[in-house]
C-alpha cells in the first residue's frame, strides 16, 4: 500500500484556522488498575475495604463489582 500523503498544513494567518490538527505526543499510560474492587469501577471513595473485615474487598456499598 502506498503511504498516504500528509494533509498540507496552512501557513501564516491561515494557521489559525488549522485547529483540527494537534501536536503529536506519543500514547502513554497515565493510570492502571489497583487491587480488588475499585480496579475498574474507579470508586471515588478509593475504598477497597481496607481493614474492613466482613466487607469482602470493596463491598462497602451494594454496587455490583
Amino acid at each position: 500500500m502506498a503511504e498516504p500523503e500528509k494533509p498540507k498544513q496552512s501557513r501564516g494567518i491561515f494557521k489559525l484556522f488549522n485547529t483540527a490538527m494537534k501536536k503529536y505526543k506519543k500514547a502513554k499510560v497515565v493510570a492502571k488498575n489497583n487491587p480488588q474492587g475499585s480496579y475498574a469501577a474507579g470508586c471515588p471513595a478509593k475504598n477497597t475495604g481496607s481493614g474492613t473485615l466482613g466487607q469482602g474487598g470493596c463491598k462497602d456499598c451494594d454496587r455490583a463489582i
Binding site: M1, E3, P4, K6, P7, Q9, N18, A20, M21, K22, K23, Y24, K25, K26, A27, K28, V29, V30, A31, K32, N33, N34, P35, Q36, S38, Y39, A40, A41, G42, C43, P44, A45, K46, N47, T48, G49, S50, G51, T52, L53, G54, Q55, G56, G57, K59, D60, C61, D62, R63, A64, I65
Partner: protein
C-alpha cells in the same frame, strides 16, 4: 523495530476482545477488560488511538490513515510504528486481538471458564503486574477526575419492582413489591440509550426480581448492543435454559445471587418461600456448568449467622466467591423492623472469628492494603462513596435515586426528565457532591476510621432521613474490626 516490522507484515487486522470495553472521557482514553479485570487510562493520543478500535476487525493501515490528519508533525510510517507498539502492549495485556483474517481473530478469542487457571470469580487480587511502572492507580485517577466532572460510570436499573421472594432483611419495603410493576420497555431502552450517550460503562440490572420482567430478553440484548459491561442481580429461582442461553449470548461481567445458607430450611426461612433454596442452588450450579460468572452474596443475620462459613466452602468448591454483609440496612421507608434480624456485637465477633478461620484469601488481601486515611487532609476531602459522583439508580416507576438502597430520596423521574438533565441539575445530587469524610468530624478523629464502612444511605434509612447521624452499631463494629485485625496481626507475630 524488527518486531514491529514483522507484525506489520503479518498481522494486519485488530479488534478488541469481547470482554474489552473502551470509553473516552474528555482527553482520557479508558480501556478495561471484564475477564482479566485489568484496566488502563491513556493520554489524549492513546484516547485517539482507542477511539479507532472496535469490535469489528479493522485494518491497521486504515486506522493509521484515519488518525494521520489529527496530528501536525508525524509521518504515516512513524505513526504506524507507534500505533503498532501501542496495540502490541494492549494485545499482551489481553485487551486486543490481532491477526491476518477474521477466522484467526475468532480462534484467539478468550472466554471465561471456571476451568481456567485463575478464574476471575475465584480471585481477590487484580493488581496490575507492572504496577511499579505506573505512577497512578485507576481508582485514584478517577477519583480526581470524576470528583471534578461527575460522570455516570455505573447505572443500576431495577427493571421490575415485582419480586417472588419476601426476604426478611430486604431494604425494599414489601408494600412496593406487593404493588410491583415492570418498568415500561420503551423507557428502559431510552435510558440505556441516554447512558450510552453519556459514556456509562457498567450497567447493573436488578429488581425486585429481574427475571419477572416479561421483556427481559429485549432489555439484556439492548444493553449488549449499547456495549455496556453488564452485571445482573437475581435470586435465580426463575432461571430457565432459555435464560442461560441468553446470558451466554450477552456475556455478562457477573451474575450476583443471594444464597443465605446451605440448609434449605434456613434459606427458605429468610426468603419466606418454600423451595427457594433448591431452585437457587440448582440455578447457581447450572450457571457454573455453563461457564457464566457467578458471585454469591450471603448477608448474615440472626437466622443464618452460623452458616456463612458453609456458604464460603460451597462457593470455593465452585471456584467462585461468597461475600457477606452483617451490618444490614434499614428499609428505605425508615421502617427498622427488618433490623430485628441484625446480629449483635457478640455474634459479629463470632462471625469474624469464623471468617479469620475460613477466609484466608480475603483476610490476607485485606491486611495487605494501605490504610485509607494515612494522609488525613486528603481523607477529609474524599467523598464518602460514589453517590452523585459516578453512579445513579433508576427504579421501575421511573424514579431516580442516588443508589439502590436510597429509595427515600427521589432525584427526578425518567418520564419527565432525561438522565443528563437529572445528573446535571438535581439539587439533591449537588448537595450530595459536597459531602466528604470531613463532613463527619467525629469520624476524622476516630481511631477506628480505617476499619469502618460508614454509609450515607444506611445512616439515612435508619435515622428517619438523617444521613449525618451515625448509628452507634456501625461505630461499635468498626472498633471490633480494629481489635480483631490487631489481635490477628499480634498472633501472627508471636507465631
Amino acid at each position: 523495530m524488527g518486531v514491529f516490522f514483522y507484525n506489520f507484515k503479518l498481522k494486519m487486522k485488530i479488534r478488541q476482545t469481547k470482554d474489552t470495553f473502551i470509553r473516552r472521557y474528555g482527553n482520557i482514553g479508558y480501556i478495561t477488560n471484564q475477564l482479566t479485570k485489568q484496566d488502563c487510562n491513556y493520554n489524549e493520543t492513546g484516547a485517539d488511538f482507542l477511539e479507532k478500535i472496535n469490535r469489528l476487525p479493522k485494518d491497521i493501515d486504515l486506522i493509521v490513515k484515519e488518525l494521520l490528519p489529527l496530528y501536525q508533525d508525524i509521518t504515516f510510517k512513524e505513526l504506524k510504528a507507534d500505533f503498532i507498539e501501542f496495540t502490541e502492549d494492549l494485545e499482551k495485556s489481553g485487551f486486543l486481538l490481532s491477526g491476518n483474517n477474521v477466522d484467526e481473530l475468532n480462534t484467539k478469542e478468550p472466554s471465561f471458564s471456571y476451568k481456567m487457571a485463575n478464574p476471575k470469580t475465584a480471585l481477590y487480587d487484580f493488581t496490575n503486574p507492572d504496577k511499579k511502572d505506573v505512577l497512578t492507580e485507576s481508582s485514584e485517577f478517577f477519583y480526581e477526575k470524576f470528583h471534578k466532572e461527575p460522570t455516570i460510570f455505573c447505572l443500576q436499573i431495577e427493571v421490575s419492582s415485582r419480586c417472588n421472594e419476601r426476604c426478611i432483611h430486604c431494604y425494599i419495603p414489601n408494600a412496593k413489591k406487593d404493588e410491583g410493576i415492570d418498568m415500561e420497555l420503551s423507557l428502559i431502552l431510552r435510558v440505556l440509550d441516554e447512558a450510552k450517550e453519556m459514556g456509562t460503562l457498567q450497567v447493573t440490572l436488578s429488581g425486585g426480581e429481574l427475571f419477572m420482567h416479561k421483556e427481559i430478553s429485549i432489555i439484556l440484548r439492548h444493553a449488549r448492543k449499547n456495549d455496556f459491561s453488564i452485571s445482573i442481580l437475581s435470586n435465580l429461582t426463575l432461571l430457565t435454559d432459555e435464560h442461560i442461553a441468553l446470558l451466554k449470548e450477552i456475556n455478562p461481567s457477573l451474575v450476583q445471587v443471594s444464597l443465605y445458607s446451605m440448609k434449605a430450611v434456613e434459606h427458605d426461612a429468610i426468603t419466606l418461600v418454600k423451595g427457594s433454596y433448591a431452585k437457587t442452588k440448582n440455578a447457581i450450579e447450572r450457571l457454573v456448568a455453563a461457564d457464566i460468572p457467578v458471585q454469591i452474596s450471603c448477608p448474615v443475620m440472626k437466622l443464618n449467622r452460623k452458616s456463612y462459613k458453609d456458604v464460603l466452602v460451597y462457593a470455593n468448591k465452585l471456584r467462585t466467591k461468597a461475600y457477606t454483609d452483617f451490618i444490614m440496612m434499614a428499609q428505605a421507608d425508615h421502617n427498622t423492623n427488618n433490623l430485628a434480624q441484625r446480629i449483635n456485637l457478640e455474634e459479629t465477633e463470632e462471625l469474624l472469628k469464623d471468617m479469620l478461620q475460613f477466609d484466608y484469601d480475603y483476610l490476607d488481601s485485606t491486611l495487605q492494603q494501605e490504610p485509607k486515611s494515612r494522609d488525613i487532609e486528603k481523607f477529609k476531602k474524599m467523598p464518602v462513596c460514589g453517590v452523585g459522583v459516578d453512579n445513579i439508580c433508576l427504579t421501575a416507576n421511573g424514579d431516580y435515586y442516588p443508589c439502590a438502597g436510597w429509595q427515600g430520596m427521589v432525584l427526578g423521574n425518567a418520564y419527565k426528565q432525561s438522565l443528563k438533565d437529572i445528573w446535571g441539575n438535581s439539587e439533591e445530587l449537588k448537595k450530595l457532591r459536597t459531602i466528604t469524610n470531613g463532613s463527619f468530624p467525629e469520624c476524622v478523629v476516630c481511631e477506628a476510621r480505617d476499619y469502618c464502612a460508614m454509609c450515607l444511605v444506611r445512616n439515612y434509612n435508619e435515622n428517619n432521613g438523617d444521613m449525618f447521624k451515625i448509628t452507634k452499631h456501625f461505630c461499635d463494629v468498626a472498633f471490633l474490626n480494629k481489635k480483631m485485625v490487631e489481635d490477628y496481626l499480634e498472633t501472627k507475630k508471636i507465631k
